[in-house]
């Protein structure tokens, strides 16, 4: 990339203080939460409005400089990185909730709003924003939309895409459009739905109209302990097959439980259990107790060592604090952590978890598991030392083996973290040449100059990968 960053235009567009070029400031933007990939941008710009984003895009497009939007940088697939010479548009200043409409149950928000802040603002109206990624106290709506983020509650309520009604977007060349409409009425091609999960490669989201749903009347959370992950997975499959509709079905294995219990997120989980299954049931007060009882019956058929029932909100919150803090708590197991994301049909969960154990043994690296079992979405956490190239190679090989097994079982390379830089080399194993060529052509409809978050989501062409620095080599 030899194009010159148009600093003068960028400074004129957003104000000089919001254009960062000093190495110390850029350091924080050289990776997201997947630290396997690092690439320092040439500049970071912090626009304060949709119009300023559009002005930045026009300037960068005019100079042929690659650029990408970034929210809180909690992404786990290297999605918010630019190749050498590129510019990051950090949208953290665009953090206003523009409107909250309790009557129509919708909110309009800027992309830099933190996920949990939207639910907090909606709560006094008896409403909430359903998608709840574990990162929700930090991650932003814009990033959630770019990755189609999920979370425990998505088992019942669906991932981000099902809660986005309309998007204000800025295209690669700076044009502004509105995709979708708040009535969710029948439409022509669903650009809104296409944009959600496109990893910031189709357009930059500068505003979103989001669906809010009522807070449940009653919630019961069951915590079932099993002697093995496989048993817990079998119980999950049984709950799904029984036609029950809990809001969340989450599994944590022993290593994850023990890490949580040794951390500030301590939740009183049974450290002697092989795995715990968290089942949350919500809905009308007249129905929830009956469903909880039926769920307990199904769980008991799978020989749990015990089942606890949390009915007070303090008990519930402790369990969820433990579950959502587990990712952080696992950090203590090793200098670096690699969080994987793969999907299998729900009935094949026990099988994939057995395979993960095999891979763990082979790789010699400790693995902890906490995952959205109800959706078949696994998240093995590998601990390794990034300073040791041999360990990096091992963790990447292990990751690729697990993902290939997911595909073999009829699953997918990613359920909610995205392809990013991390998995683009595996895309040819999930999709055929015709599909990938079609995706490339569709990308160029929206960004013919290929400047918007290049190199993400789809397999890179030969030579492009070198623009991104990384530890080790790409595993194959």
């Amino acid at each position: 990339m030899s194009s010159q960053v148009p600093l003068r235009e960028l400074r004129a567009g957003v104000g000089a203080r919001w254009v960062l070029t000093d190495p110390a400031s850029l350091l924080a933007y050289e990776s997201d939460a997947l630290t396997l990939f690092r690439c320092r941008p040439a500049a970071v710009v912090l626009p304060g409005s949709a119009e300023e984003v559009a002005a930045c895009a026009r300037a960068l497009h005019g100079s042929r400089v690659p650029f990408a939007a970034r929210g809180a940088g909690t992404g786990l697939s290297g999605g918010a990185l630019v190749p050498e010479g590129g510019v990051i548009l950090a949208l953290s200043r665009m953090n206003r909730i523009l409107a909250l409409d309790p009557e129509r149950r919708l909110a309009r928000a800027e992309p830099g709003v933190v996920n949990a802040d939207l639910s907090r603002a909606a709560a006094p109206h008896g409403l909430r924003y359903a998608p709840d990624p574990a990162s929700q106290t930090v991650s932003t709506l814009g990033g959630n939309i770019a990755e189609n983020a999920g979370g425990p509650m998505c088992f019942l309520h669906g991932a981000t895409g099902q809660h986005v009604l309309a998007l204000d977007v800025v295209l690669a060349d700076g044009r502004r459009e509105v995709w979708g409409n708040p009535t969710a009425a029948p439409e022509s091609v669903d650009l809104r739905g296409f944009c959600v999960g496109s990893e910031g490669t189709v357009a930059i989201v500068v505003g979103a109209t989001l669906r809010l749903i009522p807070l449940p009347e009653k919630i019961i959370t069951l915590l079932a302990a099993f002697d093995s992950v496989q048993r817990a997975c079998a119980a999950v499959a049984a709950v799904v097959a029984a036609g029950l509709r809990p809001v969340a079905l989450e599994v944590m294995d022993q290593r994850a439980i023990r890490a949580v219990e040794a951390s500030a997120y301590r939740a009183g989980l049974p450290t002697d259990a092989g795995a715990v299954l968290i089942v949350e049931i919500e809905g009308p007060a007249a129905r929830v107790p009956g469903e909880a009882a039926e769920t307990e019956r199904v769980l008991r058929a799978h020989a749990p060592s015990r089942i606890e029932r949390a009915e007070t909100s303090a008990q519930r919150l402790a369990i969820w604090k433990g579950r959502k803090g587990a990712g952080g708590a696992l950090g203590r197991l090793g200098p670096d952590s690699y969080v994987m994301d793969g999907v299998v049909p729900r009935a094949r969960l026990a099988e994939i978890m057995r395979f993960v154990e095999e891979v763990e043994e082979e790789s010699g690296l400790p693995v902890a598991n906490l995952f959205h079992a109800g959706d078949g979405n696994i998240h093995p956490h590998f601990s390794y030392d990034a300073r040791d190239p041999e360990q990096v190679a091992r963790v990447e090989r292990a990751g690729a083996r697990i993902l290939r097994k997911c595909l073999e079982l009829g699953g997918s390379l990613t359920g909610e973290h995205g392809i990013g830089l991390e998995k683009q080399h595996l895309m040819r194993e999930q999709f055929g040449a015709a599909e990938l060529a079609l995706m490339e052509r569709v990308r160029r409809v929206f960004d013919p100059a290929e400047l918007l978050n290049p190199g993400k989501g789809l397999p890179m062409r030969r030579g492009c990968a070198e623009a991104f620095h990384r530890h080790g080599r790409i595993a194959s």
Binding site: V189, A286, R287, P345, E416, R441
Partner: protein, 315 residues
């Protein structure tokens, strides 16, 4: 040998011949929704895909299935009911229409409020592009963000980007104990004063119906009603809906909830008058395709005339 191989081969042959003859082609099912969704469609030839009938794969344990685009929604339902499952869509033309039509020319579903719009039930599918290339979109699992979600583009395109061969669908447990009510004050439901019902609609002025699965809410604004009355009202509502143009929009935002609990009174009044929705409450803008459609159609099949267009005359 993949399912439907013979039908797909015939479709490819039709596309090839049409391109050679300079004839335009549009894919269709049984055309039961055509008058409402694409009244101006006049292709030289129809690519009829109603023959792609039947379930390719039904994974009851995983609650997903893949079905031919020509399958009637009612036929799919007959397979799912004994397994305690359903496709969470309740829209017109369930018996005479096709799944492909249902999803590609989408109607509002009476289950929209509880389960989202019809498109949310589609995980992916198999498609034939205008140049005869077959592609798969999405995945068969309930959650996947690998690659672009081309399914979203294809579903709203009414066949202009791709012809549908199969759809992979998310299924839901069937409601087990349905309790039906006449709702005296519909706005109460919108204001979140009551738990969300599975079904909610207003088939005629003054009456609204709601149904809950497994609970009997005690509320002064609800009057329990026989399931037969509920069923008749539901049929009336679907019939009214089937008599209306597919494109509509509401003026005056408070008239509708964004989750599809729309003002059926206005729709019904319009249907009775035989002239579209009632003036003032509902307007029907002309069917306007996205301005992106031509560029997307060219990207979907760069070396063939797009669906609905003629090949340029040979020089």
């Amino acid at each position: 040998m993949s399912a439907f191989a013979a039908e797909i081969a015939a479709a490819r042959e039709l596309l090839r011949a049409a391109a050679a003859d300079g004839a335009s082609v549009l894919p269709c099912g049984r055309r039961s929704r055509l008058a409402r969704h694409a009244p101006d469609a006049r292709p030289d030839r129809w690519l009829e895909l109603a023959g792609l009938r039947g379930i390719v794969r039904l994974d009851a344990e995983d609650q997903t299935c893949e079905a031919g685009a020509g399958t009637a929604p009612a036929d799919l339902d007959a397979e799912l009911a004994p397994r305690g499952l359903m496709l969470a869509v309740d829209a017109p033309c369930a018996a005479e229409g096709t799944l492909g039509g249902l999803m590609l020319a989408p109607d509002l579903s009476l289950l929209h409020r509880a389960y989202g719009p019809p498109r949310d039930q589609v995980l992916g599918g198999r498609w034939l592009l205008a140049d005869g290339t077959e592609v798969r979109t999405g995945a068969r699992v309930v959650k996947s963000v690998a690659g672009y979600d081309l399914t979203r583009l294809f579903l709203g395109s009414r066949g202009r980007l791709a012809a549908c061969i199969t759809l992979t669908l998310r299924l839901q447990p069937r409601p087990r104990a349905l309790h039906a009510y006449r709702v005296v004050s519909p706005p109460l439901l919108r204001a979140a004063a009551l738990p969300d019902p599975v079904w909610f609609f207003q088939p005629r002025a003054g009456a609204a119906y709601a149904a809950w699965d497994g609970i009997e809410p005690a509320h002064a604004t609800l009057a329990p009603c026989p399931i037969e009355e509920f069923a008749a009202a539901r049929t009336a509502c679907l019939d009214a809906f089937a008599a209306l143009p597919a494109r509509w929009a509401f003026d005056g935002a408070p008239e509708h909830a964004p989750d599809g609990a729309c003002d059926w009174n206005a729709l019904q009044a319009g249907a009775r008058a035989g002239e579209g929705p009632a003036a003032g409450a509902v307007r029907t803008p002309p069917i306007a395709d996205s301005s992106w459609l031509p560029a997307l159609a060219a990207a979907c099949a760069p070396d063939a005339p797009p669906f609905g267009a003629r090949a340029p005359a040979p020089r």
